[in-house]
């Protein structure tokens, strides 16, 4: 596909031979394949700070099916990471998950789980990969031991078995000399190695869902591609569902099945990868896509930037959150929250493409629509 050529860095075959599977018996889910693994319903999260209540996530809905890769994309401070952490029920004081929010994992609400259920869910059913493995791993504990901890919590493995399994996992994620590496500390690993160890830790107990919170942000592009390849293999070989949090369209281009675009704690556009890349509908998505450097451009072409900063979520605007930065801003955008417009998909590719914008209201002025068409071309150009 053209877009993959363009968006993902070309990488040589990995230096490390990755032979074995993730695990001996990949889990096969039974039951209705259309039943989502994870459903997030009307999720609202606030942080109580001295400045006031910061509404980080404001009514987010999405679901993840078995074996599906969902990418959540958006710029800093738009609630992506908070959403990811809430799914793991990791929100702590001063953060509060608002009433009415639901996170259903296999039909069970994560937010009302008991401590025991939560302990099984975290790490057991659902693994999390953090952005910066250097700080996410305990600096004073051997890497192997940290992976063993996970195994020992969720299974009745003996120390010896856990050690063997941990070494096998390190080997599977492509860390050479796994046995030596097992005994080393995080600071003795390179950045990419650390992230691999982090992945080994997250997937140690064969979770059904892996949440990757900007797993490649701290890495250079070559390593980025290797890590994404590793995550993709996790899905392809084991059918693990993945939620990928990122701010980089380049990362999701060859990877995600579904994409959710977040802005100011809300989902402004959602759809399949194809729909978002080939037929984006929201001005924010156009702006994001326009800000990605591309290989097929002529020299000296300016990258588009988005003026301004995301709105202050202590007092979120009553209208569209993107209105103040939007080139197509109309009066109504500042006053009222835009409606969600559904776009009929083409054939089986339809993943429920929708965008939240006044542009698609029936009475939108013609000149704004014309202007929008001009912008749309800029955003989507080259992806087709």
């Amino acid at each position: 596909m053209a877009e993959e050529k363009v968006m993902t860095p070309q990488v040589e075959e990995e230096a490390v031979e990755i032979g074995k599977n993730w695990k001996a018996n990949p889990h096969k889910w039974t039951g209705d394949p259309n039943q989502p693994l994870l459903e997030v319903k009307n999720l609202r999260v606030s942080y109580h700070t001295y400045a006031g209540e910061v509404q980080s996530v404001r009514g987010v809905n999405f679901d993840v099916k078995h074996g599906e890769i969902l990418a959540v994309i958006g710029e800093s401070g738009c609630g992506k990471s908070v959403t990811a952490r809430t799914i793991m029920s990791l929100i702590r004081h001063p953060g509060v998950v608002k009433e009415g929010s639901q996170i259903l994992f296999e039909g069970k609400d994560v937010l009302s789980m008991s401590k025991k259920e939560l302990s099984q869910y975290r790490g057991g059913d659902c693994g999390m990969i953090f952005q910066d493995a250097l700080v996410a791993l305990d600096p004073t504990m051997r890497v192997g031991k940290q992976i063993m901890e996970n195994l020992r919590i969720h299974s009745k493995m003996t120390k010896k078995e856990a050690k063997e399994e941990a070494i096998r996992l390190l080997d599977v994620v492509g860390i050479p000399n796994a046995e030596t590496r097992f005994r080393q500390y995080p600071f003795e690993f390179s950045g990419g190695m650390r992230q691999r160890a982090m992945i080994a830790m997250a997937v140690a107990c064969q979770p059904k869902l892996v949440i990757a919170d900007e797993p490649t942000t701290a890495l250079d592009v070559t390593i980025q591609a290797q890590i994404m390849e590793l995550l993709k293999r996790l899905r392809d070989e084991d059918g693990t569902s993945i939620i990928l949090i990122t701010h980089d369209f380049g990362v999701v281009a060859g990877f995600a099945d579904k994409i959710v675009v977040m802005y100011a704690g809300q989902i402004v556009e959602r759809g399949s990868r194809k729909e978002i890349f080939y037929n984006p509908q929201h001005p924010y998505t156009w702006a994001l896509l326009g800000a990605v450097p591309r290989l097929d451009w002529e020299n000296k072409q300016m990258l588009r930037t988005i003026r301004g900063t995301p709105p202050d979520l202590v007092a979120p605007p009553k209208g569209c959150p993107f209105a103040r930065r939007c080139e197509l801003c109309m009066n109504v955008c500042l006053e009222e929250m835009p409606p969600v417009k559904e776009f009929p998909g083409e054939g089986p590719e339809n993943h429920g493409h929708s965008a939240m914008c006044w542009l698609y209201a029936d009475d939108a002025p013609a000149e704004v629509r014309e202007k929008a068409e001009a912008l749309r071309v800029k955003g989507g150009e080259g992806h087709e």
């Binding site: 952490r85 099984q120 051997r142 919590i153 830790m201």
Partner: protein, 322 residues
């Protein structure tokens, strides 16, 4: 490691030499010494003879070389002027055990209680236990241990006291190291409370630092309970600042328990040292100063080694060999 120890040993010798030299000349520059007080009423001729006997007729430079020679070859700092017959060795032999026992007990009580209170304060931060511990720490740091010792003595000892503990004294003979606990309880607590306060505060701050480290979130994300996170990750990572605190404690205790030793009439070296200073007993002051310096240096060395154990990122030996 051997290389590291050897290097540190050489540094230690150099430091001790400098301490010795500085102390010697500082003492020599003060007019008068233990002898002057003793003999100032004698006739001039007798004074001169006595000065000659102790070698004070010679110039300071010559005395320095002579003393240095004795120290290096025989480890002999000279006989006490104020109390004839006492030497550094004999005093240490006689008076070190009570001080060492007192200090060990103080450290065990002080550090253990301090760590426990610090951990509680950190886990219950901004709640009642935290505030109570904070107030206690403020109080204990600001009130000198001398006052604490006297208050304890007033309220808990003697026939009218709450616990009927002996007012003063220290176990002797076969009880010297182990036994006679009723004598040691109060001196131990009187001195330890200060360390409880110090360690509780250090531990709490260190714990709060590591509680908010990202790795605790990771630990929670693999299904660890709060208690497991605390014990496996937070406490571990809190030990680095605590270890920094340790050599100061060891060194400070030896000289710091001086008031305690006085109040409770513990026959230790702390009180003796102060007596020597007030009397300008040059050989003994010199000997004790070098002795304390040596202990301080050794405890700093021990904490350096401990660093490497609590934090693997710190390597004692530079380069590839380890």
């Amino acid at each position: 490691m051997a290389k590291f120890v050897a290097k540190r040993f050489v540094y230690m010798i150099i430091t001790l030499f400098l301490v010795f030299t500085a102390t010697f000349f500082l003492l020599a520059s003060i007019p008068g010494n233990a002898l002057t007080m003793k003999i100032h009423k004698l006739p001039a001729q007798a004074q001169e003879r006595i000065m000659q006997k102790y070698g004070y007729d010679k110039p300071a430079g010559e005395r320095y070389l002579l003393t240095l020679k004795n120290v290096v070859t025989k480890g002999d700092f000279g006989e006490s002027i104020a109390k004839s017959g006492d030497t550094l060795g004999s005093i240490l032999q006689k008076r070190l055990p009570p001080t060492v026992r007192l200090n060990i007990q103080q450290m065990i009580v002080g550090v253990t209680l301090g760590l426990i209170l610090g951990i509680i304060a950190a886990m219950k931060r901004a709640k009642a236990p935290d505030f109570i511990i904070l107030i206690f720490c403020m109080f204990m740091t600001s009130v000198p241990s001398l006052v604490i010792a006297l208050i304890l003595q007033l309220t808990l000892t003697g026939p009218s006291g709450l616990l009927h503990l002996p007012i003063i004294g220290w176990p002797k003979g076969k009880d010297l190291w182990f036994g006679g606990w009723q004598f040691t309880i109060l001196p131990t607590f009187a001195g330890a409370l200060f360390y409880v306060a110090g360690y509780a505060r250090t531990t709490k701050i260190a714990m709060l630092d590591s509680i908010y480290q990202e790795c605790t979130t990771t630990a929670r994300a693999i299904g660890m309970s709060e208690t497991q996170v605390m014990l496996h990750h937070v406490v571990r990572n809190s030990f680095i600042p605590i270890v920094t605190f340790l050599p100061g404690t060891i060194a400070g205790m030896l000289s710091g328990s001086l008031f305690i030793e006085r109040v409770f009439s513990v026959p230790g070296i702390g009180s003796y040292y102060v007596e020597c200073i007030t009397q300008r007993d040059v050989p003994m002051v010199l000997g004790f100063t070098v002795f304390y310096s040596a202990i301080t240096i050794v405890s700093i060395f021990v904490s350096d080694v401990l660093y490497g154990i609590v934090d693997p990122r710190i390597k004692l030996v530079s380069g590839s060999s380890r």
